[in-house]
């Protein structure tokens, strides 16, 4: 059974530069009696688009929470670009370049759509920059609004958006922030088929300039966007490889795919 499968990456055929961006070593996270993460090892290569799947409670969101500093791991270590970020506070992790989209769409409800994007765009800039609006930001936001089909709603409060629009706005905020590593927790949850398709296109486009990790339940979506897929189960990595291999894997079928079929 392939547990710490850090080296098992059989056919990463796409020409991604093999420089690890994020390395998790023996990451363990215990909540009371529950092992949300159990000695998890993971390598994320620079420039890849990695999909994470797994049944509810497998530890996917916990993994994100630990990476972004929202939850301190019980033991283990995290390195981002060779720097130890274990237990670092969320804002420092973000400033280093890891920014996430939450599972429940989290936008600033009282701010307008435009303001949400502007605030997101400024998130990692220096303190003095907070007193002068950086040049070119209006154009950047206009482009994003266009991309997200939210131009008509730029002045509306984010609290008035529909669920799908909020998902998109939050993806847009992560884009505006422009971090080297994007963590997206269920970006298509609650979206219509058409919206999901558009998100696929957006993500593929996004992957050209960023390293992206996506948690999704929608296998079809993962099959469409991700080159490498990780299957998590009970806080461990059950399988790690290209989607075709994952779908043929008997253990994975038993644990996850079989159950939903």
């Amino acid at each position: 059974m392939p547990s710490g499968a850090s080296s098992a990456q059989p056919s990463s055929a796409t020409a991604a530069p093999a420089q690890p961006l994020l390395v998790a070593t023996a990451l363990t996270c215990r909540f009371g009696g529950v092992l949300a993460l159990n000695q998890l090892d993971l390598n994320i290569q620079s420039g890849e688009l990695l999909g994470i799947i797994g049944p509810n409670g497998a530890g996917k969101s916990t993994l994100f929470n630990v990476i972004t500093g929202h939850v301190r791991p019980t033991s283990g270590r995290l390195d981002f670009r060779g720097q130890d970020i274990t237990g670092m506070s969320p804002y420092r992790v973000a400033r280093l370049g890891i920014v996430r989209k939450y599972q429940v769409p989290t936008v600033f409800q009282g701010l307008s759509v435009w303001q949400n994007l502007a605030v997101a765009a400024n998130g990692r800039s220096s303190f003095p920059a907070l007193f002068m609006r950086p040049a070119g930001i209006r154009e950047k936001i206009a482009r994003l609004l266009d991309l997200l089909h939210l131009s008509a709603r730029a002045d509306d409060e984010a609290g008035t958006l529909s669920h799908g629009e909020r998902q998109w706005l939050e993806i847009g905020m992560v884009l505006a922030n422009d971090p080297p590593l994007l963590l997206l927790d269920e970006p298509t949850a609650g979206m219509t088929t058409r919206e999901t398709r558009e998100t696929e296109a957006l993500l593929k486009d996004l992957a050209k300039g960023h390293t992206v990790v996506v948690i999704e339940h929608d296998i079809r979506f993962i099959r469409e966007v991700a080159r490498r897929v990780i299957v998590m189960h009970r806080g461990r990595i059950l399988a790690d490889g290209v989607i075709a291999d994952i779908e043929r894997n008997e253990t994975v079928r038993d644990v996850y795919l079989g159950r939903s079929a």
């Binding site: 600033f108 303001q115 002068m132 905020m173």
Partner: protein
């Protein structure tokens, strides 16, 4: 597009109303008696104080229940320094102290609270305690602060490039007050519309979301607390020569509560809201306590109840007007 236009139009309308109000206040000395000018002058100092609290409470969502600590420290710093330095450029030095000392208090307070994750009601309780401690200090060291009797502020003459300004002159200090209030309002607007203010609004909305975009929210809140403290200190320094004395009431619980009422009544997060609340209540209470006596306090209570029941966001606290501040 139509939406954008109507927001713009509302902004112009708001600015026009504000301009007329400022003009009205500026022309008041022509038709009002010097008694009412002195009352309105103090109300202007309180308006600056309310603006200071609104920058903290209305924008960053953090309620200080002891904001008079900053106002009072500003007033005492100004009073003590003008008393000991005599005239000349002393008022300027005293003014700088009234700005710096409360700002330092704000930084210290922010460091011990926001950086350890203390917010909400716990922060309110801590600020309340600070105000009570300071008011006790003001009472208990009579050789320094004049104790319960307070400090009397000497008649000050302010040297300016345009000649000397006599601060004991009611109309002169009234215009100083108006100038400070207008400058404070402009600074407040600029600050709130800058990315800094937007980030504070965002952190008030969702602190974790702001942090996970890279904002050091504890630092942002400490910065706004220091800024708000400095502005409250200036308000205190403005009040001191107007009242011509400073006593422990300026650091205490009553003033801390009053300023919350002004902001809540006028509209939180609107900047001009708190100022309107302060001007209205401070002026009315002076005017009506003369005619209505104790019934006025009851009237004020009923007025507050009505606002809280029917207009919980305050008199000016509509979304449209909030946009004036928030919209880029």
């Amino acid at each position: 597009m139509i939406r954008t236009l109507s927001v713009r139009r509302r902004q112009w309308l708001g600015l026009a109303v504000l301009g007329v109000a400022i003009l009205g206040i500026a022309l008041a000395p022509i038709f009002a008696s010097s008694y009412y000018i002195s009352v309105l002058g103090e109300a202007l100092a309180f308006a600056v104080f309310a603006l200071a609290l609104d920058l903290l409470w209305g924008v960053s969502g953090v309620l200080s229940f002891g904001h008079a600590a900053f106002f009072g420290i500003g007033a005492y710093s100004f009073g003590l320094l003008t008393q000991h330095l005599g005239s000349g450029s002393a008022p300027y030095v005293a003014l700088i102290a009234a700005l710096v000392v409360p700002a330092v208090l704000g930084i210290a307070l922010g460091f011990f609270t926001f950086f350890s994750g203390v917010t909400g009601p716990y922060f309110a309780i801590i600020t309340l305690t600070v105000a009570l401690i300071l008011s006790q200090i003001a009472t208990s060291f009579p050789h320094l602060t004049g104790g319960l009797n307070g400090l009397s502020i000497p008649g000050l003459v302010l040297p300016t490039p345009a000649g000397e300004l006599n601060l004991s002159d009611v109309v002169a200090i009234y215009y100083v007050g108006l100038a400070v209030a207008v400058i404070a309002l402009v600074v407040g607007f600029v600050l709130v519309r800058a990315p800094f203010g937007q980030a504070l609004l965002a952190a008030a909305d969702s602190d974790p979301r702001a942090a996970s975009l890279g904002y050091n929210t504890a630092l942002l809140k400490t910065a706004v607390l220091a800024f708000s403290g400095a502005m409250a200190g200036i308000a205190g320094a403005l009040y001191a020569p107007m009242a011509s004395f400073v006593n422990p009431e300026v650091v205490g619980l009553t003033l801390s509560t009053n300023v919350i009422i002004w902001v809540a009544l006028g509209g939180r997060g609107v900047l001009v809201g708190g100022m309107l609340g302060a001007l209205t209540i401070a002026f009315l209470s002076s005017y009506l306590s003369g005619t209505l006596g104790h019934v006025w306090v009851l009237t004020l209570g009923i007025l507050l109840l009505l606002v809280v029941l029917f207009k919980p966001s305050g008199l000016l606290g509509t979304r449209a007007i909030r946009r004036l501040v928030g919209s880029a």
